[in-house]
Amino acid sequence: MAGSALRRLMAEYKQLTLNPPEGIIAGPINEENFFEWEALITGPEGTCFEGGVFPAKLIFPCDYPLSPPKMQFTCEMFHPNIYSDGRVCISILHAPGDDPMGYESSAERWSPVQSVEKILLSVVSMLAEPNDESGANVDAAKMWRENREEFNKIADRIVRKTLGIYIRE
């Protein structure tokens, strides 16, 4: 019998393949290792990220689901809640107790009730509605607040880049 973390990840993978949420694909990079996943997230419609397909990596801890996974976009991203190296900073990915930003209530934090699907849906909604108070990327947060036009332009460039369309600036 495999470990409980592995069994739960396999169950979630099965669930995600059988009943995938719209605009999200996720699964292990290699089926010999269920603790490293790859996800493709399409930008939510009606936002500046619309049309983009953003690849990300999910790394699960040995004690999943007691501890949350880590998520990192592997493409270029410009977003108030995404660090410049692609790491995603949303409360669902933080265990209660560690609070890098000091603003999150524990109810939004990680607990075994959460799942990969919920994380990815949260990320989609984060793309649609950035939280400019969290400030994983301060420049992006500032631009989102003060110069939306410029922000949209950068987002558009990133969207094109993820689709392999390059435009001259």
Partner: protein, 572 residues
């Protein structure tokens, strides 16, 4: 590519040096003497030696590990970097003994260490892979044997040489190999545990406990070894700076293991004494899936005071982290004055109408909720249709949904009321021996003997205590209503379960929130009856659908789920 170029270059240089020496001296021994006397030649030879070691390492890695995973490689590089810096620091202490032999021994140590690290990573990997081949077992077993024998040999060697010659740099090697030896033991134990788990039919619940104690024992041995090493080094040489980082990490790991063991023991104790086993009916009524592992609950499940049910083993490992209900985050700690650091974060506000924080009030009563609900006192049952302790929470929040002595498993809202009010006076402790009134005890209350009268009085006292408690709870409840001016409406009280879903903080001003809320309150009745997990899955699909802005297959799925939720309501 670069590695190949460097090894080729070094090979060529060595050939040139050897050829040159032989060309000058024409004989073996004079050539050797010539090379050892010439510094540039020696440098080339040393470099060649390092490259040979490196190549051997590569070959052995291939034999024992095959292809390294990226994470393993990064881990190896990181640890190697620390090991090399520490070695350089060690060189400063033993600069008098700085000889080629010394360097060679350190290289060998580093070489063996790197295989220990890889073996550790590889055995940990067993937990992550659904496929374990026979090749894997053969590799791990031979590797553990080889490493164990090597460590033992060098340990013995340094012990004998220290005994014979007195303290020297061999002391350092002795300790290093002793540490490595415990590491081999640790890896071997883990390997055995993982293997047993892997080949057993049913999930092995106690494996986590075994791992915990292994960790504790190994941590203790390591800390003792390091402390002894530092003390000896201070006595003989000087402060061994290079041992401080590993000492720090060893003691930190030990502390962590110790804490884990304590928390685990407490969790097990609480589990055994405080929470009732879930009955088959309760399992039936619930969705029957443990939200922690997403597997069916057939045996050994526990019900928390908030009526959420989980596997005993799953709950134990979760309680080691946090003393909250995984589903509703109810703080289930019995003692509100606990000083564990894990409690702090939960004192932060939870988005429920009453705020959050430790909930002192619930806990004294949960034994009642669990057992004493069906108090078989005929008079009382007539007078008050519901047993007092469980009445306030259920009736105030959703009293319409059910009547009856046994609350349905998920009838409780995902929070308990009265969380933040301080106590004016401690609530009376409920009687413990109240639930099980057997026919014999009932008979004892009849009659006119002194004993019968006493039994009746006792029973009445018990009832009084329970009524006092109920009054106190009602008072606190009305105080809570009065103090929280902005009491949310009923549709909002169902919100917390939905909030778990839209967990990004920025959702609060989401335009889709309106429809989402409507959606949630729409099915609020169904939600209360159904397993939280399902509601949340449902709710999430509705958010995604809102953002997708159109009819989609999800619509259909949602409708079907909705229907599923409503069935239990109708059955009731």
């Amino acid at each position: 590519m670069r590695a190949v170029a460097i090894s080729l270059l070094s090979m060529a240089l060595t050939t040139v040096v050897l050829a040159n020496a032989y060309y000058q001296k024409k004989q073996f021994y004079p050539s050797v003497v010539y090379i050892t006397k010439s510094n540039p030649s020696m440098a080339v030879i040393y470099i060649q030696a390092f490259i040979l070691v490196f190549l051997t390492g590569k070959v052995m890695r291939k034999v024992f590990f095959g292809q390294l995973r990226t994470a393993e490689f990064e881990h190896l590089m990181e640890r190697a970097w620390y090991a090399i810096t520490e070695t350089c620091l060690a060189f400063t202490v033993f600069r008098d003994e700085f000889t080629p032999k010394f360097v060679a021994l350190f290289t060998l140590l580093l070489f063996l260490k790197s295989f220990h690290w890889l073996a550790e990573d590889r055995v940990d990997y067993m937990e992550r892979s659904p496929v374990i081949s026979w090749l894997f077992h053969i590799r791990v077993l031979t590797l553990l044997f080889v490493l164990g024998s090597a460590d033992f040999y060098f340990l013995q060697h340094s012990y004998l040489s220290t005994m014979a010659v007195g303290p020297s740099v061999q002391l350092v090697f002795g300790f290093e190999y002793a540490i490595l030896y415990t590491m081999v033991a640790n890896i071997a134990i883990k390997y055995v545990l993982h293997t047993i788990d892997f080949y057993s039919e049913a999930p092995w619940a106690n494996k986590a406990v075994f791992l915990l104690y292994t960790e504790l024992a190994m941590g203790l041995i390591k800390v003792v070894l390091y402390v002894a090493f530092v003390i000896i080094m201070v006595k003989i040489y000087t402060l061994p700076l290079f041992a401080f980082r590993p000492l720090y990490y060893a003691s930190r790991n030990f502390k962590k293991a110790f804490n884990n063991v304590i928390l685990s023991r407490r969790a097990i104790h609480n589990m055994n004494t405080l929470y009732a086993d879930a009955t088959p009916e309760e399992l039936q009524a619930a969705d029957n899936v443990c939200i922690i592992c997403r597997e069916e609950m057939t045996t050994s499940s526990k019900k928390l005071p908030c009526n959420h049910i989980f596997h005993t083993a799953c709950l134990r490992s979760w309680f080691q982290r946090q003393q909250t209900c995984p589903t509703c985050r109810l703080n289930i700690l019995r003692t509100p004055t606990g000083t564990r650091p894990e409690q702090r974060p939960q004192a932060q506000p939870v988005p429920n109408p009453f705020g959050g924080g430790p909930i002192p009030f619930v806990n004294p009563f949960h034994p009642l909720l669990n057992q004493n609900v069906q108090v078989p006192i005929p008079d009382l049952n007539q007078a008050a249709a519901q047993p007092p302790p469980s009445a306030p929470p259920t009736s105030t929040t959703q009293g319409t949904t059910q009547q009856g002595s046994v609350p349905p498993p998920f009838s409780m809202p995902p929070f308990m009321p009265f969380p933040f009010l301080p106590f004016m006076s401690p609530p009376p402790m409920p009687p413990t021996n109240f639930a099980s009134l057997s026919a014999d005890e009932l008979r004892r209350m009849e009659g006119n003997e002194r004993e019968n009268v006493e039994a009746r009085i006792k029973c009445l006292q018990n009832i009084q205590v329970m009524l006092d408690a109920a009054v106190l709870m009602m008072n606190q409840y009305s105080a809570a209503v009065a103090t929280s001016g902005s009491m949310p409406s009923t549709s909002n009280t169902t919100q917390p379960s939905g909030d778990n879903v839209s967990s990004t903080p920025q959702d609060s001003n989401d335009s889709s929130k309106q429809s989402f809320e409507a959606n949630v309150s729409d099915v609020s009745n169904a939600e209360n009856e159904a397993d939280n997990s399902n509601t949340e899955v449902h709710a999430t699909s509705s958010t995604s659908e809102v953002s997708a802005n159109g009819v989609s297959p999800e619509e259909e799925v949602r409708r079907r789920r909705l229907q599923r939720f409503q069935q239990p309501v109708e059955q009731q």
